[in-house]
């Protein structure tokens, strides 16, 4: 048998983790051992994992700090909801409709990504970060005023209010400004969420080792040297940015179609930051770290429920402490030696 390279093996371990995660939760829920609060968290966990993976593509592999990733999630969420609601009569099959909604979410988010990427990627460093933040806020603000309705003549859009949609009798409002989308049919399933994670993971892991992926990494490591080698910088940065937006869009659609109502305020600056925290705590550029951090940190506030009012405070302290400890050489070498000692002891006992 041909020996697998280290990278390929690491990739297969990642798929394995996701599949094992899926099987464990399937067994738990089949035997009724899964708490209802955790059960409700499963699909959000999936979409946050996809968000973290997609942001890792921008922050880790392309090396650009983006503070507006929730904006793409929002675009995907609402376009997915509109697609699902307007196809309700045409496509009766729920799974098929979900897949179409995910695709539409990804497609519209890609457009948004390209549109935003062209001006944004000319900037560098902190200026790029602030512009992505600004775009995230603009998207939230516009969606907060967006009204979409459907009747026999098709879709209607308005930025003012509901009556200005001029719906025919029998028409339905899908998005109503700050109220968001009401009465969404819940389509998302855990299975589709897992499949989507595997797809995204498959794409990113192969992208990293592809020609464009290596070009993106070269640009990150030294933009000027890459440019001198004839790599078109803007093109490859845009590819990474738009792909990441597409993934975030499908994550948003998956997220929104899990709830009966979704408001635009959900996808604000804090959500962007939350996803960035997953990426940084998981290790920048480390996909497995992103997956684990996203899953653990989504569940953590639920687990801290005993602390009740203190849980977000504890969360903040944990966040600060983790950053302080992981960036302190003395503390890290202490932890490493402790882990080594524990490992030796464990091995001795096993013998």
């Amino acid at each position: 048998m041909k020996k697998l390279s280290k990278k390929t093996r690491a990739g297969f371990i990642n798929y394995g983790i996701i599949i094992v995660f899926f099987i464990i939760f399937q067994i738990l829920s089949a035997t009724g051992n899964l708490g209802s609060s955790l059960k409700g968290q499963l699909i959000p966990i999936c979409s946050y994992i996809i968000m973290a993976l997609s942001l890792n593509l921008v922050v880790g592999i392309s090396g650009e700090l983006s503070l507006g990733h929730a904006g793409f999630m929002s675009v995907g969420a609402f376009s997915g909801v509109v697609a699902a609601a307007s196809l309700a009569d045409v496509v009766p099959n729920n799974t098929l409709r979900l897949l179409i909604a995910l695709f539409v979410g990804a497609l519209i988010a890609t457009f948004a990504g390209i549109l935003i990427g062209i001006p944004v990627l000319r900037l560098r460093g902190d200026y790029l970060a602030i512009v992505t933040l600004a775009f995230g806020e603009i998207i939230k603000n516009v969606l907060n005023c967006l009204y979409v309705g459907i009747d026999k003549r098709g879709l209607h859009f308005s930025l003012k209010d509901e009556p200005s949609l001029h719906l025919e009798p029998g028409g339905k409002t899908i998005l109503s400004g700050p109220m968001g989308a009401l009465g969404i049919t819940k389509l998302s399933t855990f299975f589709i969420g897992i499949v989507l994670i595997l797809l995204v993971l498959f794409y990113i892991q192969n992208f990293v080792n592809s020609r464009p992926g290596r070009a993106v990494a070269a640009i990150r490591d030294n933009r000027i040297a890459a440019e001198a080698c004839g790599i078109p910088v803007t093109k490859y940065k845009l590819i990474a940015f738009a792909t990441s937006a597409a993934m975030a869009g499908s994550a948003g659609a998956l997220y929104a179609l899990n709830y009966s109502t979704v408001v635009p305020k959900k996808f604000d600056f804090n959500t962007s930051i939350l996803v960035l925290v997953f990426v940084v705590l998981g290790g920048i550029g480390n996909l497995r770290g992103s997956i684990i951090a996203a899953a653990v940190l989504t569940v953590l506030p639920e687990l801290l429920r005993e602390f009740r009012d203190y849980r977000m405070l504890v969360y903040a302290i944990v966040l600060i402490l983790v950053m302080l400890i992981t960036n302190n050489d003395k503390a890290m070498s202490f932890i490493r030696s402790m882990v080594k000692m524990a490992g030796k002891k464990f091995r001795k006992e096993a013998v």
Binding site: V59, L65, P119, R122, L123, R124, D126, Y127, A129, I130, V131, L133, A134, F135, E137, I138, N141, V142, N144, C145, L159, I224, F269, I273, L276, V277, V280, L281, I284, D309, Y310, M312, L313, Y315, A316, I317, L319, I320, M323, L324, T326, N327, N328
Partner: protein, 289 residues
Amino acid sequence: MVSYLINGISLGSVYAIIALGYTMVYGIAKMLNFAHGDVIMIGGYMAFCSTSYLGWPVIPSVLFSIFVCTILGMLIEKLAYKPLREASSLAVLITAIGVSYFLQNAALLIWSSNPKAFPNMVDLPNLVIGDVQISSVAIVTIIASIIIMIALTFFTSKTKLGKAMRAVSEDKGAAQLMGINVNATISMTFAIGSGLAAIAGVLLCSAYPTLMPTTGAMPGIKAFTAAVFGGIGSIPGAMLGGILLGIIEIFAKAYISTQLSDAIVFAVLIIVLIVKPTGLLGKKMAEKV
């Protein structure tokens, strides 16, 4: 029209004061201090507590609020940012976000999420010129910001400490070789920035008298935008950016759309950055090859 302009300048002055804090800290520590907005909120609560619960008069309670925020700023710098001075900028950013969460949630526990009605700090009659009425809060805000700007300009250009500050922001290593205590200077910058945040908090809450644990978040982001708008790291840039941002916001609210005003503000920022990638008064950086 004139009253819109005055309101815009007044709001812009508050943004400018907050933006000064951002820009000074960025200039010296090269970090985006996301917790700055929450220091504003703490400043507002301190002034609220000392006037409403302790019944202090206006001036001592403002001074008290400045004092608490100054200490808080130095404490945050000492505990959270100083150990990370050599770490990557992303790690510092996440820590700043952690501090911001911490302050917001601590405020939530202490004062609950119910909005508090901020007492009227400026008990003066409104100014009436012809048929234009200008609120006293707006006048006080503008005067306070002018005083702060003059004092800060004097401080950074004439005093020894101010010169040390500029030296550290330009080149840390060289400043240290010249005998400047870099750590003390950075700590002082945080103290000044946080003290300014307290003043901004009191002025902001006087103009918009509802106080919540999230009060500081949005003005924080906008002031940060203002700092970038004017060219981050530049003190006159922060003043100019803040005032322009305030005027744009008020005019967008008045003439275009109330709901879309934030989107318009951010859109203007993006256009400016595309035309002038380092902000209005930002320094052009030569690229090393």
